[in-house]
Amino acid sequence: MSRSHPLAILFAAALLVAAACSAPTAPGTSGSAAPSATGGQAGTLVYYADVSDLISLDPAVAYEFSGVLLVHNAYETLVQFQGSDLSNLKPALATKWDIKDAGSNWQISFDLRSGAKFASGNPITADDVVYSLQRVIKLNKSPAFLFTDIAQLKADSVTASGANTVVITMPKTASPQGLLSILTFTVGSVVDSKEVKSHETGGDSGSAWLLDRSAGSGPYNIDHWTKNAEVLLKANASYGGTKPNLSQILIKHVPESTNQQFALERGDADVARNLSPQQIAAEQGKQGVTTTKGDSLQLVYVGMNVMMKPLDNVKVREALRSAIDYNGIVNDLLKGNAKKVQGIVPAGLAGHNPDAPFQQDVSKAKSLLAEGGQPNGFSTELLVPTGPAPGGAQWSDIAAKLQDDWKKIGVNVQIKQTTQAELLTTYRAQKGQLVLILWGPDFPDPDANAGPFTDYAAKSIAWRNGWNDTTIADKAKKAALITDASARNTAYKEITDYVLHNGPYAVLYQPTENFGLRSNVKGFAWNPMGYLDFAAITK
């Protein structure tokens, strides 16, 4: 070993540090040789988010929030909802559509926009639509049930009638309005069948190829996805709609929210997706930064398993609902990042019932408990997921609040916190007692909630809580098929009122989403289904 060895190492290290520090791409500085990933860059929106849920960018596979957000911006669907409006269906690839009662089934026909092209330059034809929708059914991945179970479609239900017309045939037991809502979602994306077919390997319908790229006609193309690092979208020059304002959207995977906050304040991030309520509060009044809210259709609720005594007693369940301090949860724990919603259909969907009759009333709850045969209270277990709940508070904090509230009426709850996967395994096996969890509708229609919350036979939420009430389940099924909007709303009012007092649920709140934005970012409109149109954003 030479005498100068340690010094040589130090020297080498100093050189490396000097090289790094003098590199011209320091964030926030200008005049760099290579463009840096700064929010200051014109034409690029830098969107910081935790996108660890990203699995695939294939529209037939993606069913996670991050995947849906990206796919939504890279593909077009037949029909769409614009901005945050979920009630007025707008044309997209289909200029008009028609629902026909064909006696034994429904026939819905779509006329395609003429001259529409994919990013590849290939024309969009009825064959592409048929291929795309059949592909979802054939691949049978996470979102496929929307077609096969909810809309009850089979591969041959989708046919082309000429080059520019698509006809979907569905049984009378399924809801055409429901299908139209589903078709606005990413599962209804139309892929470039020529491109995708040429990349099929081993009967995978091109799924491996579409994993990290796009073959659509949306306002943006997926340029690249570096796993656990970033996704870059570039504007699609042949997009048929209003041209996107920004040429690039950079989604940076940044799991730590403090890091997102730093980048937002420094101007390196234009959007910070995962700021906590405390961080949002801290951003108020900061130079160059603003915050905005978005609606969510999720509901955070407690499921009460009626197979576990004394939860089988409707008075006991009403007592538990009456003992909860909902205002405290919404205002203190969640700092107002939630709506006080107590019905099973969230605000923003047709059929939402704004009645929220419950607020902590200890003496009423105690007398309900006595009427239910439990004058001295009882002990039970509350299953709770780990991590943060929608709205920003920790699941464990909400559970502790519930435990505290219920203790006041003599109900002792033991909190059992597990990973969501473990909790769901127990819950899905009907083995929970009280379960604190969330639900978000699969498509923007009240049936997406009323079905699972009422229909025991569907083996979803009602089943998990052992609640078998065929009368209300039938009413919910009939309501889904009503085509007259006001008659449908009336039907849902009756259903939600009934479930509110008889069902095995205590709906706690509907969370709102918070975003940190640079002040110059405009046109940011969050769709409650969990995505946004990047094309409408300017900066």
Binding site: A26, A34, A37, T226, P255, N259, T419, L424, T426
Partner: protein, 338 residues
Amino acid sequence: MRFLAYLARRVVGIAAVMVGVSIITFAISHVVPADPAVAALGDHATGEQIAAFRHEYGLDRSLVDQYLIYVGGLARGDLGTSIRTRRPVASDLADFFPATIELALAALLVALVLGLPAGVWSAVRRGGAPDHAVRVLVLAGGSLPIFWLGLMVIGVGYFQLGWFPGGGRIDAFVAPPPPRTGLYVVDSILAGDVDALGSSLRHLILPALTLGYFSTALVARMTRASMLESLGQDYIRTARMKGLRERVVVWRHALRNALIPTVTILGLTFASLLSGAVLTETIFSWPGLGRYATASAVSLDFPAVMGVTLLAAVAYPLANLVVDVVYYWLDPRIQRGG
């Protein structure tokens, strides 16, 4: 030859460890009372979807069958398919492991460059101001939560001063160098790509300092202790009596002997850096194996968890092996078989 025979024994040992580790990991990961199919498909999946998924991933077979299928694949170099990412585990590991190696190597370099001189200095000036300063740093390094430290480092290095980027491996608009080793710094030097080198170095410094701080403290403490012991030995007195300059006595005579325990620490530290960089990777958005491992564990992704565990199981004995080779070089008594 003795050394080669020894090496061969160690390699066989590693293989045995892997078999043991694979059985234990497999058994433990199946004790969790949760269904990986539910974890993968979520709350809304139907019973049929869950059943189809369980069948596709062989989760509907007996545990022994699952293990045998897994080991059979392993023998063919197939680590299985990740339940969470739906990609081959081998490609996931190939994507994420180099990032972690790069970070761990950089952290090790930090520990070596800062910890070694600090330990020597503090031993030479025992009881003096430098000694106290190093001891405070060592104490802090051993007790500061890395999460807090990381946030502070970002808060100052990125947020306040703006000298370094706030996370990631390379600037999004700088193309990564063509992969040869998977280490961006090395690959960009090989490719002669100055932009990529500058960007990847700047991204590396803060996480390497954060991750390396704990190891720096460890190395400094160990070096200090063994230097103090060396400096009290007879041969040092002899060297000084011979009139050798103090610098030669300290760096050449005392340090060489004091290095042996430090090398041990470095070897073990490197292995633990490989498997323990989770928090650093999260804070610095570093696309490495630590975060992959955590996400896999939370979503009960058995094939991925197995892959990561096996990799770690190889990393520890390999690091030990390297340590042994370095011993062999440092200590003539081992070479003589003494």
